[in-house]
């Protein structure tokens, strides 16, 4: 027992690896939020009139809303006037090749382990790098466009593919959806846009890497991903931020649309700065992610590994509108120290024979609070809908908490919905079994945790699975008892 206590204590001391700050000159909006800020951002990005109107509408709606308080997290009220809503790294006007990117920037991404060099083609991942909510560069553009795939920053998409953006932006997550989407819609600065044409199987993983760099900024990016009929895409998202003493707000919106027989696989490794041991600093990650299986036989799969953020508050959801559509949600959420996570999913079954599967694994350590909050809703016309949910919690240490709030609403008699949840700690007998076979306690704990998460980690694309496993290992680093 004392061994594992020690392990847990040491676990809480492992450091955040990505906490450096890059010295890049920034071009920022003044602090504060008003209609002028919204106009400033829109003008800065040279946006068409309709988008500005859309933003203003969202902003006006936001003014009428109140901060939601239902989540199982506590934090001091956010002063929305004390945030910089737009911050872009200053760089030369336009880039024709990657060599022209600010070397500081490139070094940043090198440090993060993301190579923007096309030489690293072998890794086969197309990256859209977003720093302080502005897209810096997108790799492999040419190769993708041969197939008709559009993969670019949101601001580019607004100019080059306005018809697609106009049609789909806000169609899955309306601006009035909640407090943070309204805020995001008003001030979003950039993000990734992706369109996969009919019948195309995207040959490589697409990836966006988000980083908050400047102080006092909020990051508000917007991702829109459309998979047309019969297409397939696998999309990765990673996030880090420097260590700062104040809390920074990240309120993103991600919208996925899968048409008939299309498949989208969306993976996230979220490693925002979680704050220090005493809960000082860290990112507030208040993100709205929602996907819609708009056509029959569409499939959407969310996989997330959540290790960062001082507060995580997000529910990647799937609206199963098409018949025979499939929604999946795989999640590992690790909280440590003073971190709080309230995360889960929503599966809304509308189409007949729609199926969904939820596997959520929570690990809480230190003084953290980890909640699973999920909704499975079967509408009356969703004949033969099928859901299976499993949410397990692993508790490490006696100061932390694990909570489960599953909502199940079934309105069709042919639906089969199952939910099961367990909560436990790492069994002393399991550790003993390993010890007996010459595996020391630290390795044993790592082994057990890895085994516990396997079901989810297996869902990640290979490149990410390695990163995720490393992340879990970092959390357990130096935990020899």
């Amino acid at each position: 027992m004392s061994d594992s206590n020690k392990i847990l204590e040491e676990l809480t001391q492992s450091d955040y690896k990505y906490g450096f700050v890059t010295n890049i000159e920034n071009d920022s909006a003044p602090k504060g939020l008003s209609e002028d800020t919204v106009r400033f951002i829109s003008a800065k990005k040279n946006e068409p009139e309709w988008l500005l109107e859309w933003r203003l509408k969202a902003f006006r709606h936001w003014l009428t809303m109140e901060t939601p308080t239902w989540a199982n997290v506590t934090f001091p009220a956010i002063d929305y006037q004390d945030i910089i809503y737009y911050s872009a790294p200053k760089q030369k006007i336009s880039l024709s090749s990657l060599d022209e990117i600010d070397p500081e920037l490139r070094a940043t991404f090198e440090k993060l382990g993301i190579s923007l060099d096309e030489q690293k083609r072998l890794s086969g991942v197309a990256v859209d790098a977003v720093i302080d909510s502005v897209s810096i560069t997108t790799t492999f553009k040419g190769k993708l466009s041969e197939l008709g795939i559009i993969f670019c920053s949101m601001s580019e998409a607004v100019h080059e593919h306005p018809e697609l953006v106009k049609k789909h932006l806000g169609s899955v997550v309306p601006i009035t959806d909640n407090y943070f989407t309204a805020l995001n819609s008003a001030v979003f600065s950039d993000g990734s846009f992706c369109y996969i044409p009919k019948g195309v199987r995207c040959p490589m993983e697409l990836s966006t890497y988000f980083r908050i760099n400047a102080a006092n900024t909020g990051q508000f990016e917007r991702t829109l991903l459309i998979a047309d009929e019969g297409s397939y895409v696998s999309y990765l998202e990673g996030c880090t931020a420097p260590m700062r003493d104040e809390n920074q707000l990240h309120a993103a919106v991600v919208e996925l649309i899968a048409m008939e027989k299309a498949e989208i696989k969306y993976s996230t490794v979220q490693n925002w700065y979680p704050g220090d041991k005493n809960g000082k600093g860290g990112i507030y990650n208040f993100v709205t992610k929602r996907a819609i299986c708009a056509g029959d036989h569409a499939k959407i799969s969310w996989t997330q590994v959540e290790t960062g953020s001082s507060i995580t508050w997000k529910y990647p959801s799937v609206i199963l509108k098409g018949d025979y559509s499939i929604g999946e949600f795989y999640s590992v959420a690790v909280t440590n120290n003073m971190q709080q996570a309230d995360t889960g999913t929503k599966m809304i079954h509308i189409g007949k024979n729609s199926r969904s599967r939820i596997v959520s694994k929570g690990i809480s350590a230190g003084k953290s609070q980890n909640s699973y909050r999920g909704l499975v809703k079967v509408m009356p016309r969703a004949e033969n809908a099928r859901n299976f949910s499993q949410c397990d919690s692993l508790l490490m240490g006696d100061q932390c908490g694990a909570h489960t709030f599953p909502y199940i609403e079934v309105g069709n008699p042919s639906a089969i919905v199952e939910h099961e949840a367990t909560t436990s700690k790492i069994g002393e007998d399991q550790v003993f079994y390993c010890n007996q076979r010459g595996i020391d306690t630290e390795k044993a704990v790592a082994l057990i945790v890895n085994g516990y998460c396997k079901e989810v980690l297996n869902q990640l694309p290979m490149e990410f699975a390695v990163e995720a496993q490393k992340l879990l290992a970092i959390s357990l680093e130096g935990s020899v008892g």
């Binding site: 919690s393 489960t404 709030f405 079934v410 089969i416 919905v417 939910h419 367990t422 909560t423």
Partner: protein, 423 residues
């Protein structure tokens, strides 16, 4: 006038003649809460799926005690002590309490031994809403049962609550307190019935206080008519090594909300919770349970099952709290539902909140339909579809019915349920 105003208005006439069962200060505070919070609405998380709005404008009478209508009550065919409430007020002439040593009304005990009330009354209230506050403000009609140290009540106590609406809609608010001393044991059965064709609304609260090594079995049978609204709260506070066994069965009433709150306040306690609900027509049945593990080494086990037909709605919310000190907790919860019709709805929310690490907790919830293969098995053996379905539903219900430990009562309730499930 809506229900909230009726309650506030009635309080003005009630206050001067109120007993000391509840201190004047607490009554005043409670009625203020009623004024502030009102009747719960679906905006409140605890009431998200249960809407009382449709009856708020009913012209209820709050202090109605019509003549005893003994033949309106169906008495169970068991040997038991008998208590009869008509519209929330104890009717002594219909009751039979001969042989119970310590029995009184809340009102009389507050006059005779106020210390007892202050020791046990209103000790655990995890959730507060306008209805519970109203019940507290008006608490004086109800019984106080005390089982002395080491005593076992020789017979179960059956309490019949009759809603008599022959003279118009009524609103009743009984409140009971049951205390089991060290090593005592008792069986307590609440039966809700109604007569008349008007709307009734029962807002009841029963509190149980279990001392060391005591043993409680409590049952709640809801068999009012289709115009009856019922919001009931049962709270069980456990002290060391005490044991409780609760079963809540609902198969009628228009809207029924059962709250069952268990507080495991000392080590080595054990609580069993069972529930069965059968919905048909447009019945709405809501079961909210809470098992609060406050101390280490306790055990709780919960099984709620429901069958929903026609346009009925079922709600289940089962909370398990494991507090920081409650190491070595074992808590299990299971909620199983069968939907029979296109328009039936089930909303279930099994909820775990855990703050200790050395625990074993699990919960499961399922919503589905009768097993096709089991039906086929029966039909292949010449049993008609309707009967095969009934057999399966009976088997489904038996898991809970078997938990009624009084044989004669089990038989009678099982027969009643079988009658209900007959096609």
């Amino acid at each position: 006038m809506n229900l909230k105003d009726l309650i506030l208005e009635e309080y003005k006439t009630f206050a001067p003649q109120a007993s000391n069962a509840v201190s004047k200060v607490l009554r005043e505070e409670s009625i203020k809460q009623v004024a502030e919070w009102g009747i719960p609405t679906i905006k409140q998380e605890e009431w998200k799926y249960t809407n009382l709005k449709s009856i708020l404008d009913t012209p209820f009478r709050l202090n109605a005690s019509p003549a005893a209508t003994s033949n309106a009550i169906h008495y169970y065919n068991i040997d038991a002590y008998k208590l009869v409430f008509v519209n929330g007020i104890l009717n002594a002439s219909l009751s039979d309490t001969k042989g119970i040593e310590a029995f009184a009304t809340l009102k009389s005990i507050s006059e005779a031994e106020p210390a007892i009330l202050s020791k046990y009354f209103n000790k655990f209230h995890p959730f507060q809403d306008g209805l519970q506050a109203a019940n507290l403000a008006f608490a004086q009609h109800g019984v106080y049962l005390h089982v002395n140290k080491g005593k076992a009540l020789p017979k179960p106590v059956v309490v019949y609550f009759l809603s008599d609406t022959t003279q118009g809609p009524i609103f009743a608010q009984p409140r009971n307190l049951i205390v089991l001393e060290q090593g005592a044991s008792a069986k307590w059965i609440e039966s809700f019935q109604s007569t008349g064709n008007d709307t009734s609304f029962t807002n009841i609260c029963s509190e149980f206080f279990l001392h060391q090594d005591s043993h409680l079995e409590q049952y709640k049978f809801q068999q009012e008519n289709d115009k009856a609204y019922h919001v009931g709260t049962s709270q069980v506070v456990h002290l060391e090594k005490s044991y409780s066994h609760s079963a809540v069965l609902t198969w009628s009433g228009a809207l029924v909300r059962n709250n069952l709150n268990i507080h495991l306040g000392a080590e080595y306690c054990e609580a069993h919770l069972y529930g069965l609900y059968l919905g048909n027509n447009s019945r709405h049945i809501d079961n909210h349970t809470l098992v609060d593990h406050a101390m280490p080494n306790c055990y709780s086990n919960e099984l709620y099952k429901g069958i929903l037909d026609d346009q009925s709605t079922g709600v289940f919310n089962g909370k398990i709290w494991v507090q920081k000190d409650a190491q070595k907790t074992n808590a299990f919860q299971s909620n199983k539902n069968v939907l029979l019709s296109q328009k039936a709805t089930m909303n279930t929310k099994p909820q775990l909140e855990i703050f200790a690490d050395d625990v074993k907790c699990s919960h499961g919830a399922t919503v589905g339909q009768l097993d096709e293969e089991a039906l086929f098995f029966l039909r292949a053996r010449g049993i008609p579809l309707a009967q095969a379905r009934m057999l399966l539903m009976q088997a489904f219900s038996d898991d809970v019915l078997n938990k009624i430990t009084i044989p004669a009562l089990q038989e009678e309730i099982t027969a009643t349920i079988a009658q209900r499930l007959r096609p």
